[in-house]
Structure formats: C-alpha cells, structure tokens
Symmetry: D2
Subunit: 341 residues, 4 copies
Amino acid sequence: MVSFECDYIAGAHPEIIRRLEETNMEALSGYGMDRYTESAKEKIKKACGTDTAQVEFLTGGTQTNMVVISTMLRDWEGVIAVPSGHVSVHESGAIEFTGHEVLEIPGRDGKMQADTLREYLVRFYSDVTHDHMTFPGMVYISYPTEPGTLYSKKELEDISAVCREYEIPLYLDGARLGYGLMSRHSDLSLQDIARLTDVFYIGGTKVGALCGEAVVFTKNNRPDHFMTSVKKRGALLAKGRLLGVQFDTLFTDDLYFRISRHAIEMAEQLREIIREKGWEFYVDSPTNQQLILMDEEQMRKLSEHVIFDRWGVYDDKLTIVRLATSWSTTEDDLRVLRELC
Amino acid sequence: MVSFECDYIAGAHPEIIRRLEETNMEALSGYGMDRYTESAKEKIKKACGTDTAQVEFLTGGTQTNMVVISTMLRDWEGVIAVPSGHVSVHESGAIEFTGHEVLEIPGRDGKMQADTLREYLVRFYSDVTHDHMTFPGMVYISYPTEPGTLYSKKELEDISAVCREYEIPLYLDGARLGYGLMSRHSDLSLQDIARLTDVFYIGGTKVGALCGEAVVFTKNNRPDHFMTSVKKRGALLAKGRLLGVQFDTLFTDDLYFRISRHAIEMAEQLREIIREKGWEFYVDSPTNQQLILMDEEQMRKLSEHVIFDRWGVYDDKLTIVRLATSWSTTEDDLRVLRELC
Amino acid sequence: MVSFECDYIAGAHPEIIRRLEETNMEALSGYGMDRYTESAKEKIKKACGTDTAQVEFLTGGTQTNMVVISTMLRDWEGVIAVPSGHVSVHESGAIEFTGHEVLEIPGRDGKMQADTLREYLVRFYSDVTHDHMTFPGMVYISYPTEPGTLYSKKELEDISAVCREYEIPLYLDGARLGYGLMSRHSDLSLQDIARLTDVFYIGGTKVGALCGEAVVFTKNNRPDHFMTSVKKRGALLAKGRLLGVQFDTLFTDDLYFRISRHAIEMAEQLREIIREKGWEFYVDSPTNQQLILMDEEQMRKLSEHVIFDRWGVYDDKLTIVRLATSWSTTEDDLRVLRELC
Amino acid sequence: MVSFECDYIAGAHPEIIRRLEETNMEALSGYGMDRYTESAKEKIKKACGTDTAQVEFLTGGTQTNMVVISTMLRDWEGVIAVPSGHVSVHESGAIEFTGHEVLEIPGRDGKMQADTLREYLVRFYSDVTHDHMTFPGMVYISYPTEPGTLYSKKELEDISAVCREYEIPLYLDGARLGYGLMSRHSDLSLQDIARLTDVFYIGGTKVGALCGEAVVFTKNNRPDHFMTSVKKRGALLAKGRLLGVQFDTLFTDDLYFRISRHAIEMAEQLREIIREKGWEFYVDSPTNQQLILMDEEQMRKLSEHVIFDRWGVYDDKLTIVRLATSWSTTEDDLRVLRELC
C-alpha cells in the first residue's frame, strides 16, 4: 500500500529531524526570540533578494491566511479571491470569523485574471452605492493554485500592476510555493515573487516541515504590533524554535528547493504513468498535484494498492481524484502505482 | 421636481405621525416593555394567523438581517443567498462582521431556485472535505427580491420543502413585504409566508414607517435571551414605543396593506408611462420598483424634473435606473413624469 | 401614578414632534444626505465652538459606544474604563462583540482619576510582557457618570493631559450630557468638552429625542469610510432625516440646554423632597438622577404612587433606588411624590 | 550561564524526539486521523479514569483557551475569571477577539473562591437589569494558578458545586497541570480533575512537548462539529501526528508524571536555595515556579550567571522575579545558582 493522498503524509525531512534533535536541549527564549529563528529570517530575506523584507513564522496555512489578511485589511475592506481559492472555500469561514468578507470574482483553471480583476474594481468604484458595500482591500492568489496551475511571470506582473494602480496589497498564498517554483513550467523565481507581491508566504507544512509557514512582508509593511495581533488570534507559538530550526534548515544549502525539485520529478513520472494508464486529466497541472477523473469502479481498483484523495465531485458518475507527490515520494511508490494498478 | 428615487423618501404615513403625537407624553417603560409594543405584537401574530409566532422589533433592515442571521446560525454555519441578495452585496459585510460567511449560489432574476439549492446541499454533503468548509445553516431569500421580482407560492413551497428536508431554517427578508403581497401577480398571503418560512420580517422603513422592522419567528423558535443578543449588537432601542406605536398603527385597520396597495397602483401607472415613453425595462417587475435602461443623455433629460436612482452599471453605455413608487407617491408625481419627461 | 423610572419615559419634546410632522412629506434623500441633517451638523459644530469637528448621528447609546470605540481602536488595542462604566457592565458585551477588550481600572464615585490612569499606563509600558497584553488605545469616561456624578474642569483637564501624553484618544459618553452641563455644579461648557476630548457624543435619547445621539469627532479625526463601518455594524439609519430633524430642533434656540436645565430644576426639588422625607442618599449627585437606599417596606409604599427603578443591590436589606427627572418631569409629578409618599 | 527563565526553554523530552524520528517516514492521514493520535486519546481517557471523556489536541495554551471558551459559550454569555487569570490579562484579548467578555471577580493568591463566585452569581441574577449584561456562562480557573498556587480538593469541589448549581461549565486551564498534580501539596489526582470539571486541558508545551495541549471534555460534551470550529479559528494542524505522537509518548509509562515530578524536586531544591540566600518570596508556591522580590542591584548580580524572568512590577524599588524549573532542569543548573549567585 502506498500513499499519494496529499503532500503532508510524512513527518519532516530527515535533516530537519536531525537539527531538531541536535538543538533540542539548548536553553532558548520563547516566542521567536531565539538565534535559529533569527538565522532563518536572515536566510529567507537573502533568498528573496531584498533588504526591505520582514519575515514572521506561523504554524499552518489557514492560520497564516487569517492572520495576514485580518491584520492588513482595514475595517471597511474585504479580500478579493477566485471561488476555488483556499480562503473562499476550504477554511471553514476563517476570514469571515475575523469580521471580513471574501469578495469572489470568476477565475479560470483556479487562476485570477488581471482583466477580470480590473473590471471588478472599475465597476466597484463606478457604483454609486459602493459606500454600502465591502471595499476591495487586498487581492489573494495562490501559487500554485488549488488545482495545481501556475501563473506566468507576465500574468503575475499584470495582476501586480492592477493592484498597484488601485493601491491594494497583493497577497500570494505559497502553501506549495516550492512545488510551483521548481516546476519546469515556471518562469518565476522567489525574487520575482518578493518583487511583485506585497506579502506572501513560503509553505513549510507541505514542503518538508512538520508544521510552519514563513510570511514575508516584502516592502517593510508588516502591520504594527504584529506579535500582539498574532497572540490575539491564538497563533503565537511559545517554542518559536520549532519553526525557526525548521526554516533555518530548509533555507540552508537550498534544501527547500532541492526537495521541491524532487517532488516535481516524481510528479513528472506520475503524469507519465497516468497517460500510460489512459486515465483522464481533470486539469493540466505542471506541479506536484495531479487531478484525474475516475468512476467508482476505477477508484475501487486503485484503492487496493493506493491511498488517494477524493478531491471533489465532477458529475453523477465521475469523481475528481487527487494524486499528489511530495518531497517524501519515492521511486518505489511510483513503481507500485505503475505495476500494480 | 418630483422624486422616484426610492421608497423611503418621505417620513411616515400621517396616521403614524398622528399616533406618535397622541401617545407622546405618556410615561412608558423602555426596551419594548410598553403597551403599544405589546398590542402591535398581538396584531401581527393575528395577521400571520398563527399562535406559535413570536414578534420582535428592530430599527433597520441590515440590522435585522445581521441580528436574525447571527443569532440563529451556529458557530460552524453560514447562510445561503443568491449573489444579488442584500446580505451578499449591500450590507458592507455586516453578516461577516458577526463571524459568519454568506454562501452564494446562482439565482435567476434575483430569485433562488429550489433545484439549485438542493444541488448545492447534495454536493456539500457528498464532499468528503466538508468539515473544512462552512456548513449551510440557513437559507436567505427576499420577497420581493432586490430587482423587484416575486416568488410564486409553488416556488416558495419548493424552497421551503428543501429547507425542511435538510433541517435548515428558511429566512425571508421582507423589507418591502407589503409591496410584494399587494402585487396583482402575488399568489401569496402573509399567512402563507408565516407557514412556509421559519423566520421573516415585515419591513416598516420602506412601507410607511419612520424606521422599524417586525421580525416574526414563526415556530416558537426565537433564540434564547434574544434581548441580550440584540443589546450586544447595539440594536436595542431604548424607547421601544417608537417601534411599537408605528407597527400598532400599521396593523390597525389594514393600514399596512392599504398603503402597499396604493404603491402598487402607482407602480402600474408608472409601468404604463415607461411603456408609452419607449424606455427599456431591465427586468419585468410586478412590484413597486421599476428598473429601466437609460443612456447618459436620457438620464440628463430625466434629471431635469425627476430625482431617480442609478441602481447599477449595465454596460459601457447604459445604466440601470430605478424608479420606485411607495405609499407616498401621488398622482401628481406621475403626471410630472408623464407630461414633462 | 407618576413615573420617575428613568429619563426616557416620554416620547420626544413636543417641538420635535411638531417639526417631524411639518417636514414629514418632504422628499429627502436617505442615509443622512438631507438638508436637516446638514443643518443639525452645522449647528452642533457652532455650539462646540470649533471648525475642526465632524458630526455624525447614530440611533442609540450602546450602538454609539460600539461604533465609535471599534472604529477608532486598532487591532491590538482595548479601551480603558472604570468598572461602573456603561461599556464595562451594561452593554451585554457590545464592545467585546467587536473583538476588543474593555480594560478596567478602579474609579471613585463612578469617576476615573487621572492619577490612577497614569499609574496604569506607566505600569503597562514597564511590564516586559506587555506584547502579550491588550494595549490601552482609548480612554472612555462618561459625563455625567453612571451614578450621576460630574468631573470638574480640572479633573477633565488632568485626564485629557494624560491621554495626550500617551497619545491615546479620550472619548466622553454624553448620553445625559445636557443634564451634566446644566447642573449648577458643573464648571464645564460644551466648548470645553470639545476642546478636552477627541470624540464625544451628545445624547438625544435621554434628553428630549425619540432616539438619536450626535457623535462629535473634535479634531478632524473621524475614521475613514465611517459610513461604511456604520453600515457594517447594522447602524446606518435609512431615513437619516429622523435624526437630522430632531437634532436640528434640539440645537435651535438652545432647546437642548433649556430642557436640560428644566430637568435639573426638577431634580433640585426632588433632592429637597428626599431630604424632607429622610431617605438616605446612596451618592451625592448634582444631576438629574438621584440614587437612594430603601428597604422592601419603603419600596412597597413608594410603589403605590410612583414608578421607580431598582438600580442595584446595596446589601441584604437595602436596594439602590433610582428616581430620575428629565425634560418631561412636571411640578405635578413632584407634588405627588411630596404629598402622597 | 544557566536559565530559569521559564518552563519552556528546552525543546522536547528526548523520548519524544526519539518517537518523532522513529515514526517520521510513516505515511499517515492528516488532521488527527492517524493511529498515534488515536492511541494518545485512549491513553489519556484511561488516565482520566472515565469513559465519557472526549480528547482533542491543539497547539498552544492561548489557542486552547480561545477555542474551548468560544465554542462552549453561547452568544449572550461570557466567562468568569480572576483578574490574574491568563485569559484576563496575558492573551492580548484573544477571548474578546471571539466576541466574548471575560467577567472578572476578585481572587486570592491567584485563586478563585467558591464564596466569591456564588455571591457574584446571586447578585447577577438578582439584578433586574441583567438582560443588559453579559450572562455568566462558564467558569475559568487554572491549576496551578498563574503565581503557582494550588486549589485543594475541597476548594475545587466547592467551586464545582457552585457551577453545577448554576449549570455553568467549569473549565480548568492545565498549562502546567503536571507540575500541579506532582506537587507534594496537591491532594488532587487527574481523575479528580476529570470528575470535578466539565472541560480541562493537559498542558504539553510547558511539560515536555515541543508544542501541544490535550483538551479533555469530561462529560461527552464536546461541542458539535468541533473540527470545523477549530479550522475556523485557524487552529487545525495539518500534521496532527505531531501532537498525537507527543502525547502518546507523554502518556506511555507515566512519562508526563515522571518528568513533572522531577521538575517539582528541582523546585524544592530551588526553594531551599532561595531561603539560604535570604531572598524574599512574593508568594508561597508549592509548584515549579518561584516568585521572589529583588531590587535592581540583586537582579544585576543574579543576571551574571542566570537567565530569569521579570514577572512583574512590585513597587518603585522591587521587581517580582520568576525562577522556574521544568522537566529539563538539572542538578548542575541548581549548583550554579547555589554556588555562583
């Protein structure tokens, strides 16, 4: 039995476990006031190629979205996202819990279009009753998107340009950032993302860490008293070292990018296998998540050897099945899929 | 200059003003603990034809939606509405302010379809990840809808049946309830609405009152400690008499329905005038609001004699213009429109 | 039977009713965009003796506190108040509903002491863990206070000085402002209050209006997009004229101050009667509310002719009874109390 | 240099690290749906000696308080706590962030008194205006308390009895539960706590874990759809194994209690040293935290060899200094303190 259920089925990359063990008995101050956290922040800033960045660590993705969005929005504002966005549909209303609305605009293959965004903003400000509406105060996108697609550099530049024209911060959810950047179809670098967005996060949970996400405020724009706001949301980790050591390890010797690249290579082989088997792709994804359509009989058969995720309902007969690779996927896992299914 | 801007351009029906004056110097207890509030509740319950109803008064429509929805939803639930619903778009995020999500499903001409609702619910519960989503915990519709359309009895029965099957309360926003019920195209009565919904409100602000909405919990289902929850939302009026006297008057001698009927008669003449002028209808509304399409030149000309509302943007050239009648519209107002425009 | 239950037992001052009737059929725009609201704002600014003030109208006191406090505080801040403050104890948690903490510091006779406030702030900032605490972001006081006491000009200046030293806005709840300013023991004017606070409100509900409070942002410091934030809290009245006409009337020919003065004169006679009867004062109040201590037998006897308020529990035997005068109290009311009780 | 700064200066107990490493590459489902989480829950239920308990894991203490309190309170309710309670003062308003008030009643040495609690409740319900107040809907205590004191079994039984009389759930914050239970002055067992409270948590962060708290709903009273509410608060950990493995380890072979006992033995030696040095105790604590009073000179000298916490301001001259032991404190640490300071 092998698992392609998601990209967080294993613990942490062994190098992270080794570093946690190595540093375990050192007496360190809490709440991120330790040397490993400090070092991790510096390494990430360097990788982003910017002096104006501020880096903060949080524990999980939904928590990060909630904290970042609700501390950056003003009272009268909401965040724009596409209907398939994680904040729109898979966070049990965490953004609304903080008192803010998610403003949905149509997307394509999980991506926001710069034109659609601009149209929405033009229409909003031309509506004479917009004082009775939620103001657009932030744009949320993810890279890769939920179904695993990628923005091209041109597409991201266009969205960024609209945001700057309207003075709205652009926030990029990078829960699987490594798997996006290391795709052969990506023409974006971490530096590009730091340049084109106002805030983004580098996902750890899905890319080799036990937990943890690194938020990068790219323009010296971290909200005032951020630690207190994090505490107020129950999101301040006492032993900040747990996050610091993990990200310090991930950003030493390019570990984050090397393990992401591995997941992509595994995904490329996975795509090959899917094609060989004649399974139908739901969407064409150049990243680590492959969505395919299967009927009940196909799923029954697959489940004899493979753990997978029922990602969504396609129609009366077909289900969208997700097969995900990650840093922990092995050639052996693929062999089982190729030979036994 | 005459105004068809909206249905709340005048103060209150003169009979209400008279009663406010008449009762003005009586010493009455606050917070709705007065005889007029008591009397108004009884009259409304009688008009609804039910013994199990509980009636409460609030000041405005958005406030009412916020209070009702947030006191009836449970922590993990949101409210289903169509994209043009008042709670979806014109309340500046008041529902989200209380920590709850508005779950949008497609509508037609401002109305929710029972089939679409059922599909949404089927799909929600068949999604294996629905524990990470907001649960549908209430259905919100309005009668008339935002663009002025009406549900038939059959349509409302169908929606009600889906709600009961899924044990989700059905909430009907009746900001303009009188103008809906008194339309010649309505086959619904107040009793029908009390029977088919779990909670609804009878709009006063737009139907003859200075302010005020009467919430009817139809099945003995008023949330516990409702007064405290109202207070907590800053929505408890000290001089409850202001609401009590107004609704007591509106539900004496059928005043609410008589003035609503008048508005509908004025709207029928207005539709005749619109047809005569050759203006294009945006939607076919059998109630007091008429939405038409006009270009800039037409609006300029109209504005010489008439105050109207730019309801929305239609396309690059055309604007959706609203002309609304109300209890206060006169034959003279219509004459100006017919003869001078 | 006469009522001294509270200062909102009657409707509105007859002059207000007259003006509501007079303006009733005029077609006016909604949401405060009418000439009466405009006029009322101008008159209030003039009465405050300042060019930098911005005036907004809301419907009730708790609503006003909630809207003002939650739109002025930043995410990490709370509001400082004394334990007897209305926001601390009598708003069912309306401030907390908006996500903010009320930080209580000890008071004396319902009043905050400048020294206590300063000590609190010194201690807060000297606490090394204050990043894990709610920051003091506003000071809330009321004038008169809940038990009816008054700040002297010196006391208010001292509190104001501490606030300015710490750059914290000072907010004064003036639910009964007229009854404070018109007391013979007050050495403060409306202009003083506008000068010494950052925001305050002039209570209408308890001083002659059917409903309504006038918020004065004294230093051009109204929060951005205030109307949208008001709407988001369900607090935007459609027929803003109801508030505009009332305050326009109250600030014409000093009506607000004249009727407040009347209430104070009635209160002075009331104090005389209390002394004659030998009833014990709970607190020495120079304003319209008199708090006295009574046992059950005394209350039983009083209740034969008078409606009064059981304000609080004093001890096992005694209850704190409130007798309030207002603009609507008459010599006849006092005569009943004097002669029959 | 040795550190007595707090009880979370080290990573995790080595046995936990070993188990994390051992299980690291196993493919497990997320969100707590793994065998280690299941096993940990069973062991904890057994240790609590009850069949009706439900166990859930969260990441940190403030998060746990926020999630438990806000999912158990109803809309109109707040939580009662003493002023030194963690929820009252050291959570940056996390409870208020969820829309609920913390109702403070006086305590003694950090402890709530059953009599004070009862008086508060009697007074609340005898106040005729309590519909305008926040209802008491839960009692929050901690064991040990913030300053390190302990409730006796009798004291806890008395508080529990008041709660049951008023049908209010009793919640015990056990951030340092092991250090309380293992104190020689404790006459309470884990089973007692499970019996006398309605919900409590077993702190991991401060007792040997990298992070994590185990919430025990003792009476089959876990809120409905708890996982969705946790997700909504951004508190659902994707790799639930991180919490499951840690608590499974802590509750294997009594590890949790053995390491807690060690911390207490270290604290007893620490108290001896404090007495020898002639330092003044601020409070008499039988648990792992010792609070002493020091002037600036004493602190300067101590800081040459020891890292400690400035817990609070005592007066103009003296600071309350905290010296904490934990599972990671060694005899060597104590030797430094004894010999060099």
